[in-house]
Every structure is written in C-alpha cells, then in structure tokens.
C-alpha cells in the first residue's frame, strides 16, 4: 500500500474564498472601528462606514454560503444558539453564531449614528424606518460601551473562526496547522485597515482625521510585514514539509497569480508604498489609496489560493476529482 495519490478538491472553491475574505474583513472592521470609537477617537462616520459595510459583506458572504448548501431548510439547526451546546466542537457552529451576533450587536451599536445621519435619514423608506425604530438608538446609547464590546468580541470570534475552520480539516497539510488561523487573523486586520483608509481618504475626507490615518497606516505596515513573515514560514513549511505540503508548494510557487499577484502586488508593493508613506510621507492620498486597494485584492487572493492549493494524500485516487497532481508540478486531468 505504498503508492499514494495527491489531489486538490473541488467542493469549496472561489465562493468559499469570497466568504472567508468577507467574513474576515467584516469581522475585523467591526473590531477596529469599535475599539477606535471607544478608546481612540469618537468617530460616527467611521463606525457607520465600517459597520454598515461589514453588515453588507457578511450578508453577501453568508447568502453565498447558503445558496451552496444542499439542504437549505436544515440551516435552522446552526442558526439556533443551542448549537453551541450540542456541537461545541464544530467551528461552523461557532462561526455562524459569531457572525449572527456580531451583525446584531454592531447594528445596534451603530443605530444611534444612523438616526443622526442626514445621508441615511434622507433615503426614502429606509430613512423612515430608521426614524420609526428610534427607540433602538436611545436604548443603544444607554448601554453603548457594553454593546460595543459585545460587537467587538463577536467580531474577534468571526475573524478567528475563518482560519480555525480550515485548520479543522486534518487531511490537508496546508490547512491543518496553527499558522493558518494566525495568517488569516493578520490578513483580516490588514484588509480592515486598508478598507478604513479608503473610507477616510476617499469618502469621509475630514482633515481632523490625520492622526487616525497615520495610526491606520502604521498599523497596516506592521500587519503586512508580519503577513510577509508568515508567508515565508509557509514557504518553508510547504517546500520542506510533508509530502502533500510539497505538492502544495509546487502549485503555489509555480503560479504567477500567487507569486506576482498575491505576494508581489498584494503584499510587497503595498508594504513599500505604505512604508514610504509612514517614513517620508506622500503629497497626495493616491498612493495610499492604491496600496489599500492592492491589500484588499491580496486578501481575497490569499484565501482563493489557499482553497485551491490544499492537497489531499490518499492511497487511492479521489473518485470525483478531475485533477490529480504530479510531482513535477503538472496536473493530470481525468
């Protein structure tokens, strides 16, 4: 039983990558905006941008996941909070609850700002609905910090869960290691910083936010730097690791989309641009906005390649997989 077969999977592909990307970004946005608003600088517009965007991202991501379920009605089993007692070992159970409660608490936390927002109150129907439920805003303000922390805790859980979900699959060396949750956490917060920088530079455009922009740029430089180090660790782990990890290395490090797209344009170039911004500064906002867009693109590419490059090792070929890997890096298609 010496001959082993190596194949990737076609069950969870680009749509799961989008879900993981939006989940990580959405969760980190709630955490960063909540903590910034509570402890750094009260900033209603930032919270509105972060939390409403997060709500939309998580709604889109979760809906994509829902569409791909085989048995849609049975989703009720994970939406029930009792799932945490019945299935505490399953990260999808935790993730579903973290996402649902993060969306609820972050929306309640944001509600007083929606009530005060001319933009949101000016939208037909939605503006009227916001006014109709004004009491939610009053209630939220009475317990604002508590609600903020409930949103932040569930946001941290959402960010953490995306990596732990992949880590819970033992058959794939690329996924089943402690580096994955760490990488996804760092990437999630880096993309959140990038998203907030775009919001501050392009949409909010308040000169009083200079300090906040500097804080986010510095944080993002540090996060991208750490992410680069973790990617180097993964290079070592896959290149000199278990056999299935070596097949992963063949996939990733022979793919220009990974090397140039993710490592180059998604990490190195934004790192250089933001590092220059932090040390010497830029005259305009364009370089930082460009770097932020690249970081966001890189955030998706990371998850995309992680899903496609996970390699299973089995003593027989996968029945329904059409891709079987050869050690020279080529893919044999059935």
């Amino acid at each position: 039983m010496e001959g082993m077969f190596y194949s990737t999977q076609e069950l969870w592909t680009w749509w799961i990558a989008i879900y993981l990307f939006l989940g990580g970004l959405g969760g980190a946005l709630v955490v960063v905006s909540g903590l910034t608003n509570m402890y750094v600088k009260e900033h209603k517009e930032l919270v509105l941008w972060a939390n409403i965007s997060s709500l939309i991202m998580l709604s889109v991501g979760s809906f994509m996941l829902f569409l791909h379920l085989l048995h849609h009605i049975a989703v009720i089993n994970v939406l029930n909070p009792m799932v945490l007692i019945n299935k505490p070992d399953a990260w999808i159970s935790w993730g579903t609850q973290f996402i649902v409660w993060m969306m609820v608490w972050s929306f309640v936390y944001t509600y007083p700002y929606l009530v005060d927002s001319k933009f949101w109150r000016g939208i037909p129907i939605i503006g009227g609905l916001i006014g109709l439920f004004g009491w939610v805003g009053n209630l939220s303000l009475r317990f604002h910090k508590l609600i903020g922390w409930l949103a932040v805790i569930n946001g941290i859980g959402t960010v953490l869960y995306t990596g732990l979900l992949l880590q819970s699959f033992p058959a794939v060396a690329l996924w089943h290691n402690p580096g994955v949750p760490l990488l996804f956490i760092v990437s999630a917060f880096s993309t959140a910083m990038a998203f907030l920088l775009i919001a501050l530079y392009v949409f909010i455009k308040n000169p009083e936010d200079h300090g906040l922009k500097v804080l986010f740029e510095r944080s993002d430089v540090i996060l991208i730097g750490i992410e680069l180090l973790i990617i180097f660790v993964f290079f070592q782990f896959t290149t000199y690791g278990l056999e299935s990890a070596r097949y992963t290395a063949k996939i990733l490090w022979n793919d220009m989309g990974w090397i140039i797209g993710f490592v180059g344009f998604g990490l190195l170039i934004p790192f250089i641009i933001e590092f220059r911004g932090v040390t010497k500064g830029w005259k305009g906002s364009a370089p930082i906005v460009l770097a932020a867009i690249l970081v966001l693109s890189g955030g998706y590419l990371l998850r995309h390649y992680f899903m496609y490059a996970g390699v299973y090792e089995r003593p027989y070929p996968a029945i329904n997989s059409t891709h079987h890997l050869q050690m020279d890096g080529s893919v044999q298609t059935q």
Binding site: W12, L70, V78, T96, P170, A171, Y312, Y316, A318, N320
Partner: protein, 208 residues
Amino acid sequence: MTTPHYAMVIDLNTCVGCNACMAACSMENQTPVWDNKWRTYVHDMEIGAGTENEVKRRFFPRLCNHCDNPPCMSVCPTGATYKLDNGIVLVNDEMCMGCRACAMACPYDARYDVTYDDLDKGTEFYGELHFRTSPSVDKCSFCAHRVMKGLKPACVETCVGSARLFGDMNDPKDEVAKIVASGVAKPLMAHLGTRPNVYYISDLERNV
C-alpha cells in the same frame, strides 16, 4: 456483555474486482450511482513497473472507515453526523444541511453529495421503494440497519472472494479481532489520528 465495536478487514489478496460489493451496496442503500457516487468503490489499479509480468493489477476496495476519532463528525455543525456506541458513524439526512465540511475533513474521500436532483432521479431509478427524502452528504453506514438485525453489511455478504470480513473488535474470538491483533492488517493513514476501523491486508508481500 460488552458493547460490540465493529470493524472491517479487507484482504487485497483475495479481492478479484468483480464489483459485486458496489452493486449490492448501491441496491441496499440506494446510492446515486448515475452520478458515480458510491458508498463503497473498488479501484482498479496497476502497481509495479517494467514488463507485463512485473506489473500487478490491484483491486482496492474503499469505504467510510468509521473512525474512532471521525473528523467528519467533529466538523459537522448540525450534529447530523454522529457515532453509535458500537463504533458505527451515521448521518441523519434530516439534520444535514449539506455544507460539505465533512467531505472536506474526511481523509478517505468517503463522503459524497446527495442533491435534490439525485432524489428525483432516485425515484425513477429505485421506483416506489426509494426511501431517500432529504439531500445530504452521504456515506457508508456499515449497513447499520442490517447489522442491528444480526446480518452482515451487504458488501460483506455478497463478496465472492471473502475479501471483506466484518466483526466485533471487542470479541477476542472474532476473526476480525484476531486478524487485527495479529498485526497483519493495517489501517489507512493512521498517522492522522483518525483511528479508523477498516483494516487492509496488503497484497505486496505476495508480489515481491
């Protein structure tokens, strides 16, 4: 009397690749064979290299390994995948939402989709006896419904070469327990910590 702990031994020396196990299983458990979805499957493989006398043909039956540490069960968010006291891992179709996390977690590629489309085709294929009502991510059940009646799994019952043996690991007199205890039969990918309950007797020693 101790609770049985069921396991299977597959002897690669005696499997002739007749695929009767696949046929018996698909009829017993109504699997979507039209989509190449099987609870058990027999791979037809070549091992060795060189002249035709040096290359051997190997038939490799596979199925759910009913692990003692089943990763498909721990990742299942709804509790649809569960384990009986006798070691058999089962799927509750009604509770399964079909997220496929179990299929992603399974090192043995033992899980497959049963879709709404498969349910419709199943009614055509299996007729009025078709019992599946919910989509799910299905797998081998060791024919638990037969085992509870004291019968063997359908694939074991039908195997012409007695390549599949089914028994109780908690009974020291059971043939399966004796073979496993002898060390001649080994589980697949035990290093992953899944503690599988399907053991294989290798055909390599005879071929060298």
